[in-house]
């Protein structure tokens, strides 16, 4: 029931919000709905009763698909992330005004519902449905409320991911016909009867979709543009949660369905991921745009997650699971600051900024904490994840881990560059009249900072949450 509610409430809330005209009502209502979702997600996290956590009704018997939702360790942590992120986003962007506020928030909720559905669904076809469903509202959100080049950029994003997901659909269908009982249920998929060459082909079809979503190195070009052009609230949702869909799907579907193929292809994928990490980091160093920098930094981080996943080490997987959460939190924090700066000063170019720390000390401090989390400093949440992931990668191949580790250094370079160019130094003409961040932004950031620190110091609850999931996963993989 909890699982169903988690999806139902954003859907209903979103549909209602679509038709509310008054701006303040919409905002209040949205905050309320998102908080309810958060409460339910927290209930889900702390509940252990299978009957509450699972929901299973007949849906398309003719197609062998059932409406199966379930909260296990894996989906718990991600639904928590999804549920946390929306209230934070709403708080942080509370003062932003949009044309058609109701539509904006309504679509945000639908997008959230889609993402929750992806995380919760235990049926391949349902999973695919939600996968697409999360995309459509995002497309509209970016295209209607985005920046100047929004139409082309978002369209590219949409088509790109759509191509991937269609290929994934082909793969899902193919596996469906190879399952013993002709069913889309997760367990049937896990035991699908594929020959080596079939699983090889289907693996790649499946993987490309996820690689585009994550994104992995050569498939990433949609990302910086989209993040740059999308309205920041949407960017937060996209980068904080939606890219996790790809990583999540690797864990939930790809690895258990194709254990052999993923192992035999792991070297290629890990190499790509590691190349991507360094590549994205190096590009990030040369960025002059806050949003693009964060986007590239995200590519680098996701690359590490992907590499750790395919290293087939329990440590690495565990790391990925908690890092999905942590990365979501951290990057949302970064976007909040980027948005605050852009909203206030109208620019996101480093070259036009400087010395903001004198004018906006609170923002500076909070931003620095988020940045430190971004570079995975110990006692911030990202450290634990990256520690475990690198550990996994190291067990897979020490040299690869060493090369990938360079990105830690590069991450420090570009993150500190960013801090320095925005906040340090003397004020320039633009920042002369700047003022400190508003209350709502501080609240949102402080919430995030608390999460960052708490889970940085005491990550064990998250590890406990995900441990069982990883253990069952590991047994699937030879």
């Amino acid at each position: 029931m909890i699982a169903l509610l988690l999806i139902l409430i954003p859907v209903i809330g979103g549909l209602i919000a679509l038709f509310i005209k008054n701006e303040n009502t919409v905002k209040g209502f949205s905050l309320f709905i998102s908080l309810i979702t958060l409460v339910i997600a927290l209930f889900g996290v702390y509940s252990n009763q299978t009957s509450e956590l699972h929901y299973n009704v007949s849906w398309m018997p003719d197609l062998g698909s059932r409406f199966t939702l379930g909260l296990d360790g894996l989906s718990k942590i991600l639904s928590l992330l999804t549920a946390i992120s929306l209230p934070v986003i709403i708080i942080a962007t509370y003062k932003n005004t949009y044309a058609n506020t109701g539509k904006f928030f309504g679509l945000m909720f639908l997008c959230q519902a889609g993402m929750l559905g992806v995380f919760l669904s235990m049926d391949a076809l349902l999973f695919y449905f939600f996968w697409e469903l999360a995309l459509i509202p995002a497309y509209f959100l970016c295209s209607i409320w985005g920046g100047e080049r929004r139409i082309q950029v978002t369209f590219k994003f949409f088509i790109y991911t759509f191509v991937g997901s269609l290929l994934m659909l082909v793969s899902i269908l193919f596996i469906y016909f190879k399952t013993a009982d002709h069913s889309f249920a997760m367990q049937s998929f896990y035991h699908a009867n594929l020959t080596a060459s079939q699983s090889q082909w289907m693996f790649w079809l499946f993987f490309i979709a996820l690689a585009i979503k994550m994104p992995i190195f050569p498939f990433h070009t949609w990302q910086p543009d989209t993040y740059e052009q999308a309205p920041t609230a949407v960017t937060m949702l996209l980068s904080g949660v939606m890219v996790k869909m790809g990583v999540f799907a690797v864990i939930r579907w790809l690895l258990p369905i194709f254990p052999n193929a993923s192992q035999s292809n792991s070297s290629i994928i890990i190499t790509l991921s590691v190349i991507g990490m360094l590549y994205a980091s190096l590009i990030a160093i040369r960025q002059d745009d806050i949003k693009r920098l964060i986007a590239y930094s995200s590519i680098a981080h996701i690359g590490l997650m992907c590499a750790a996943l395919f290293s087939n080490q329990q440590v690495g997987m565990q790391g990925v699971l908690i890092q999905m959460f942590n990365h979501g939190i951290n990057i949302i924090g970064l976007w909040i600051v980027a948005d605050a700066i852009q909203k206030q000063l109208g620019t996101k170019k480093f070259s036009e900024l400087g010395g903001l720390a004198q004018k906006a000390p609170t923002l500076a401090i909070l931003f620095v904490v988020m940045c430190l989390a971004n570079v995975a400093l110990p006692l911030t949440n990202a450290f634990v994840g990256e520690f475990l992931m690198f550990n996994g990668l190291f067990r897979y191949n020490p040299i690869m881990a060493g090369i990938a580790g360079i990105s830690i250094i590069l991450a420090a370079v570009y993150t500190l560059n960013m801090i320095q160019k925005i906040f340090y130094g003397n004020t320039v003409a633009l920042t002369e009249k700047a003022y400190d961040s508003s209350f709502n932004i501080n609240v949102a950031l402080i919430i995030l900072v608390i999460v960052v620190i708490v889970f940085g110091v005491y990550p064990q609850p998250m590890l406990n949450l995900t441990q069982s999931g990883v253990n069952t996963l590991i047994t699937k993989i030879p």
Partner: protein
């Protein structure tokens, strides 16, 4: 039989109406009543009430599939008349005649869904086509309409020639026109007849022409573009899927067992790929939404051809699904299109601001055509892809198809972009509230089918 006779009969009634009743809009109402009646009698027949009990000597055979398809076709026509009936009235003085012809087309559709003899196939195709030639040319002053009509007629007649050649050769090989006569019946015609295979090839080409499969699709864009929008809507949907159903039956009965050595799948694969290629790629650069939809109908045909390629349960179910999804969405799109004063993409700019209901429903129709989940179009595509994958070979064909599906998203979403993300001042004919309600209902049907396809299939297999 009910549907055939009633549709023919209503055609005649409409014909008489033209000089008995002078009020234009009453034609529409009579037509709606007729279609409702048609729907009812067809559903009755589906449930086993045949009013007429005519012995067709094996010329026609009624299957659940065919009757269900009739329901879809008649239902689509009903929705079509409800949504676009008013626009037909704007077209000229022969409103009743147009409805007559539409009923005659429906008669052809019903024949095609239940034919069991090549003669009936031939007659059905002709009864379907000849009214369409006329409807295409119905805008007599418009040179585009003239041109379209001439092209359609000449090429249609040519393809009829090819079809007849095919039928003749098939007859030469088997000695019968009946589809069901078992080949080994007479002892002399065991195994494969070469003549029949050649005949089937001819027949296949002419049917490919009718369903506008490449490389026999060339008439489609010109005719759909040139014909008055209201009739394009009709012929691109009901008439086309009827040809598909006829084609499917032909393939099922004749092409499945021709030989073990001879495989029709390769030819179909080639036709599918060319169809997808021409349809999708050419649609990308179109400037007019109407012409884009014409090309998109070719592209959609490429997907429907999968049913003929794989010839399994998924395929035939899927073809029904596809007909429903495709007809409904296209009818909806054209219903809005004929209200637009400018049918280029620019003409749609900013529609979401001035006509939010039109834009929203249009977006849903486009999503359905593009095959986005939770619309009927997704399930339709799903069945088609599944049918091919179920055959176990030619999976690469599916991959190619989905790549083209992604291309199709490009041009469908250009309309969405124009409506939602661009600013402009779109000019439309006056929009009535009932029209909007109709559109919303149509969109709702599409979504309901997409979310709960079981409603459709429970109906089919109750």
């Amino acid at each position: 039989m009910n549907a055939i006779i009633f549709s023919a009969g209503f055609g005649v009634i409409m014909m008489f109406c033209s000089f008995l009743i002078s009020n234009k809009s009453s034609y529409r109402h009579i037509a709606v009543v007729g279609l409702l009646l048609l729907l009812v009698v067809n559903v009755m027949e589906t449930n086993g009430f045949d009013i007429f009990h005519i012995n067709s000597y094996g010329m026609l055979s009624y299957t659940r599939f065919g009757l269900f398809f009739n329901t879809i076709a008649i239902g689509s026509t009903l929705i079509y008349v409800l949504l676009t009936g008013k626009d037909i009235e704007r077209l000229g003085n022969y409103v009743a005649e147009y409805f007559t012809l539409i009923f005659f087309v429906l008669c052809g559709v019903c024949i095609l869904s239940s034919y069991n003899n090549l003669l009936m196939l031939f007659l059905g195709i002709e009864i379907l086509s000849i009214p369409l030639y006329i409807l295409t040319g119905s805008d007599k002053r418009n040179l585009k309409s003239n041109e379209a009509s001439l092209k359609y007629f000449l090429m249609g007649a040519f393809s009829t020639g090819l079809m007849l050649m095919g039928i003749a050769l098939m007859y030469g090989g088997t000695g019968t026109f009946s589809l069901d006569v078992v080949r080994s019946q007479t002892g002399l015609y065991k195994g494969v007849s070469f003549l029949e295979i050649i005949g089937l090839l001819f027949l296949m080409v002419s049917m490919a022409f009718k369903v506008s499969a490449a490389p026999f699709h060339f008439w489609t864009p010109d005719v759909y573009d040139g014909a008055p929008g209201v009739f394009t809507s009709f012929m691109a949907t009901v008439a086309k899927v009827a040809a598909f159903v006829a084609f499917l039956k032909l393939c099922y009965v004749r092409m499945t067992a021709t030989s073990t050595a001879i495989d029709w799948q390769l030819l179909f694969a080639i036709i599918i790929i060319t169809t997808l290629l021409f349809g999708n790629i050419t649609a990308v650069f179109q400037q007019s939404v109407k012409r884009m939809l014409a090309y998109s109908s070719i592209a959609q045909a490429g997907f429907m051809l999968f049913a003929l390629f794989s010839l399994n349960d998924f395929g035939s179910k899927g073809l029904l699904m596809y007909s429903a999804a495709y007809c409904l969405a296209t009818i909806g799109l054209f219903a809005v299109l004929v209200k637009m004063k400018d049918v280029t993409f620019e003409g749609y700019n900013g529609l979401a601001k001035t006509q939010p209901v039109l834009a929203a429903t249009n977006a849903i129709f486009l999503l359905s055509l593009a095959g986005i989940p939770l619309t009927a179009g997704f399930l339709a595509k799903y069945y088609m892809l599944a049918s091919v994958i179920a055959t176990g070979s030619y999976t690469w064909l599916v991959v190619i198809a989905v790549l083209f599906a992604a291309v199709s998203v490009y041009y469908y979403f250009r309309v969405v972009q124009a409506m939602y993300f661009k600013t402009g001042d779109p000019q439309t004919e006056p929009i009535t509230g009932s029209f909007k309600i109709g559109l919303i209902a149509l969109a709702a049907i599409i979504i309901i089918i997409g979310v709960l396809p079981q409603t459709l299939f429970n109906w089919l297999y109750f």
